[in-house]
């Protein structure tokens, strides 16, 4: 793996990297200064974001500049506009945004300012998952410092650009990481995703034009504005530019959050970054980008880690939350755990998702405990195909269906074995924790 330029995690090595003074020492707030003092036109900022090729880092990989350009023409639509920063980070395996928020919160603040300027948004709301207490406190402290320094609020840096940034807490629901579920939750309601159309840029927070972006996506903005689109495009591969944060977990020697360029193979990441599979064991399977991307078999380990290559290989880049399983991992058990998650997190609106996530969970649970039946395996596929794609208000149904299909596709034999044996040969052997009756 050759040397590559770093920028995302460049500043966090410094002590107190989360403070304003250290941020400034390390070159912070130069980007917003450039924007406001040149001054750049909002449209020009959007153009440079488009040219950079930055794709959203929240899982969908949608081109960020294009998303920003969906905001309506301000001369024709006088409604206030908002940026919502998705810091709900709840995709299983994903633990990268909290690194930025805990260790470099001013980077996020500056990114918000640039995004709000580009989209003429009057305020940014940073929706942080309720469990991320340290992230919340660090970003709030950074906003307070920035406000005191005239960088947030009215007339920023003495210009007529005014922008507020508010922290907002979630309360433990994964579905509030879905754009429209996030907006419902921010408005003080149950986090039920909204049917689309309308789309957030047309009708978002409080029916106003809104753009929802992931933390890491926004975090990239100051670098792109300051160093230029060409610089950004010099990193990664043509259709997945820049660097990304890769969260590596599971059966590896060196789990962690790493800044990486696009274009490495999963094998390179496993062997050269994560220290290989632990305990001298062999790789069995891996999730390339969070549980919703579904398992890839060990044979797919040479997949190139960029958005389009992973898609072409039959999975998704997602949040680059790479979870590695060794040969002792039971696929039925992993799928039981995975579907338990989607069963818990379905908001319950759509019939297929509400019933289907529970049904799939019950089936994987049964199979993993040796109570599977032969016809279960095909039924899993049939149910997953009944849930997705595109049959529900949001993609949580897809997030449950895709891993189901991938597991059966790549590991059918293991499921069949559990059925034939009447037990899971790879089942954990420790005594389970005592469960309160009725608790789930």
């Amino acid at each position: 793996m050759k040397e590559f330029q770093r920028y995302l995690l460049d500043r966090i090595a410094a002590a107190n990297s989360h403070t304003l003074s250290v941020y400034r020492q390390q070159g912070g707030y130069k980007a917003i200064e450039k924007v406001l003092k040149t001054p750049l036109k909002p449209e020009d900022v959007i153009t440079v974001m488009k040219d950079s090729g930055l794709r959203g880092r929240g899982g969908a990989g949608f081109p960020t500049g294009m998303k920003w350009s969906f905001m309506p023409d301000v001369t024709k639509d006088p409604r206030p506009r908002y940026l919502a920063v998705n810091a709900d980070e709840s995709e299983p395996g994903t633990c990268k945004d909290r690194v930025l928020m805990e260790r470099d919160p001013h980077g996020l603040v500056e990114g918000c300012l640039i995004a709000c300027y580009a989209m003429r948004a009057k305020a940014a709301y940073i929706y942080v998952r309720g469990e991320y207490r340290l992230s919340y406190d660090r970003v709030q402290a950074a906003i307070d410092e920035a406000r005191a320094a005239g960088l947030v609020g009215k007339n920023i840096l003495g210009t007529d650009f005014s922008c507020d940034i508010w922290m907002h807490k979630g309360a433990g629901a994964y579905i509030c990481g879905e754009e429209t579920g996030l907006m419902e939750s921010l408005e003080g309601k149950r986090g039920h995703p909204r049917p689309k159309p309308p789309f957030p840029a047309g009708s978002g927070l409080w029916k106003s034009p809104t753009t929802v972006n992931n933390v890491e996506t926004i975090f990239n903005a100051p670098f792109i504005v300051e160093r230029g689109a060409e610089w950004f495009k010099s990193m990664g591969v043509p259709k997945s530019t820049g660097n990304f944060l890769c969260g590596i977990s599971g059966h590896v020697n060196k789990p962690g959050v790493y800044e990486l360029p696009f274009g490495l193979t999963a094998r390179q990441i496993l062997d050269e970054v994560a220290g290989g599979i632990w305990k001298g064991r062999k790789l069995k399977a891996f999730f390339p980008g969070g549980s919703s991307t579904g398992l890839m078999p060990a044979s797919a380990i040479d997949v190139v880690m960029d958005h389009d290559s992973v898609k072409a290989a039959g999975s998704m880049f997602g949040t680059a939350a790479m979870i590695f399983l060794d040969e002792t991992a039971s696929i039925p058990q992993v799928m039981d755990v995975t579907l338990r998650f989607y069963d818990h997190e379905s908001c319950g609106q759509c019939s297929q998702c509400r019933e289907g996530t529970q049904w799939l969970h019950q089936m994987f649970h049964r199979i993993a405990r040796g109570k599977g039946k032969r016809e279960d395996i095909d039924l899993l596929v049939s149910l997953a195909n009944g849930m997705a794609p595109g049959k529900t208000i949001c993609a949580l149904a897809d997030a449950a269906a895709i891993p189901t299909l991938a597991a059966v596709k790549h590991f059918r034999a293991e499921f069949e074995q559990c059925v034939e044996l009447g037990r899971d040969p790879l089942a954990p052997t420790h005594a389970p924790a005592p469960e309160l009756q009725g608790a789930h």
């Binding site: 149950r190 049917p195 069963d343 997190e345 908001c347 297929q352 509400r354 019933e355 009944g386 049959k391």
Partner: protein, 516 residues
């Protein structure tokens, strides 16, 4: 949305023509037919308006659409030859040229899948469920379902008989979480009382802290519940809906005159009232006062075969030995004599008489040389912002339009006390005047009562039974001038003639005394 192009600047002196007015409807294609669609309504309405039965659970035309049940999925393409995709019709705006197909294998497959998911946890309660026979889950499963479920998993175990107050019972296991009931209270009564509680497969419908539901509109949520999750306590286990005859009628409990359906077991005993859609009067709703008023409609016969103290079947005259049953002809002849002999008999109408009955009464009064009035009780305290007018007279406006003046019960009783003959006409007239007060009138008042029930009144000279409002046909006019029709839902007991006919025969008797 197409825009009218700006006319190019012209060098001619004539001004540019004004842009054409935007059409109220747009043209789309539904199942191969070109139809006009209202652009303000979702696609599902365009389909329904054309008689295309796209299934629905969470959608209801009286509530905002949420697109959650996913049963209304149809195939749409932006235009002919364009690629089609499956969408939820209730949340899809119509656009000009849209090509909609509701009957394709893909649309049916999507609905079949959706039904299988709904039936995964839904209990097999049909044999004990009130909703059987009018259940959208049954109906669509029969139309589009797959007949045999593939689940071997245990179903959710939840509360099956949760009382939500005096009107509604909730069966949490049957609920398919369409949220219509939640939206009803939010959007129609403007006072949220229900919520979805929890999330995912653990969701249930709930009130806060087990508080019972309140207000006068609770029954509507049992109507709009697509399954048997919400049932009406008074109706539980009373009848199988396929044994109920259904007759279009009008509610009698206030001057709103909500359109209703009267449903009677085998056409004989009224088991429930349900609201009927009427965009000008009551939309899809009715209040609980009106909904549960069918109970008093069935009036028991007097005890031990007596004449007073219950439903009056036939006619009775006060002879030397007290009230005696007589043939209707004979009663009419005696009443005609009594009325002709009196100088200016008092004629009072119940506000429950129909226009047809009122006209017959007016003709009779013309023949007697008197003007009738209708008893007009004071407004009650049930008036609300939704339907109930607080005026207990279903045909006040109709009678007023016929020129019949109103008289308050107290004033009427005063006149009755001084009268030497009075004719009281119509259902509930005695209770509107107050039976206890009537009982105090002297025998000289010589009341002739044409009412549903007979009471032990010293002043009673003759009584003739009349049909209730579910036993007659006719028209009322509601507070806003809309006609409310009545139809015979159950037959009046044998021996009870239609009031209009009784009045006309009475008039005949009044005109031809020499024939005897």
């Amino acid at each position: 949305m197409s825009q009218t192009p700006n006319p190019a600047p012209s060098s001619a002196s004539t001004p540019a023509p004004a842009p054409a007015p935007k059409p109220a409807t747009i043209k789309i294609q539904v199942d191969g037919r070109e139809v006009e669609a209202d652009p303000k309504q979702p696609l599902i309405r365009a389909c329904h308006d054309q008689g295309v039965d796209v299934p629905m659970y969470c959608y209801h035309p009286g509530l905002s659409p949420v697109g959650s049940c996913r049963i209304c999925q149809v195939e749409v393409a932006a235009g002919p030859g364009q690629p089609s995709r499956v969408v939820a019709a209730c949340r899809t705006p119509v656009s000009p040229g849209m090509v909609v197909q509701t009957d394709t294998p893909k649309a049916h497959e999507t609905r079949r899948e959706c039904l299988e998911f709904l039936l995964k946890n839904h209990p097999l309660d049909c044999p004990i469920c009130d909703k059987a026979g009018e259940c959208d889950l049954q109906d669509y499963s029969f139309n589009e379902g797959q007949g045999k479920g593939r689940s071997s998993e245990p179903r959710r175990k939840l509360e099956k008989r949760k009382s939500l107050g005096d009107v509604i019972v909730l069966d949490e296991e049957r609920c398919i979480l369409c949220s219509r009931c939640v939206r009803f209270f939010q959007e129609v009564t403007h006072k949220p009382q229900l919520t979805v509680s929890g999330l995912g497969s653990r969701s249930t419908i709930a009130t806060f802290a087990d508080k019972p539901l309140s207000g006068n509109y609770q029954g509507n949520i049992a109507d709009i519940c697509p399954v048997g999750a919400l049932t009406l306590k008074p109706f539980r286990f009373q009848a199988r809906v396929w044994n109920l005859s259904k007759t279009l009628s009008t509610c009698a409990e206030c001057s709103r005159g909500c359109s209703i359906t009267v449903e009677a077991l085998r056409g004989k005993e009224v088991k429930r009232f349900r609201p009927r859609f009427n965009p000008q009067v009551n939309q899809h709703w009715m209040c609980d006062v009106g909904r549960f008023a069918y109970a008093p409609v069935t009036q028991a016969l007097p005890p031990e075969g007596g004449i007073v103290g219950g439903r009056l079947v036939g006619a009775a005259i006060r002879g030397y030995h007290g009230l005696e049953r007589v043939e209707l002809e004979s009663a009419l002849a005696e009443v005609a004599d009594l009325l002709r002999a009196a100088s200016k008999p008092l004629v009072l109408l119940s506000p429950f008489v129909t226009q047809e009955e009122a006209r017959a009464a007016l003709e009779l009064c013309a023949g007697l040389g008197v003007a009738p009035r209708f008893v007009s009780p004071a407004p009650n305290n049930l008036k609300d912002d939704l339907l109930h007018t607080g005026d207990p007279c279903p045909n006040r406006r109709g009678l007023s339009e016929l020129g019949v003046a109103a008289i308050e019960p107290a004033a009427a009783l005063a006149e009755l006390a001084a009268a030497n003959a009075a004719l009281l006409v119509g259902e509930r007239i005695q209770s509107l005047l107050d039976v206890a007060a009537l009982a105090k009138l002297p025998a000289t008042a010589r009341l002739v009562v044409l009412d549903v029930a007979a009471h032990d009144l010293a002043a009673l000279s003759a009584a003739i039974g009349v049909p209730t409002h579910v036993e007659k046909s006719g028209q009322w006019i509601n507070v806003d001038g809309h006609v409310g029709v009545l139809n015979v839902a159950v037959p009046a007991p044998a021996g009870v003639a239609p009031l209009e006919r009784t009045l006309r025969e009475l008039l005949e008797h009044c005109r031809a005394p020499a024939a005897r």
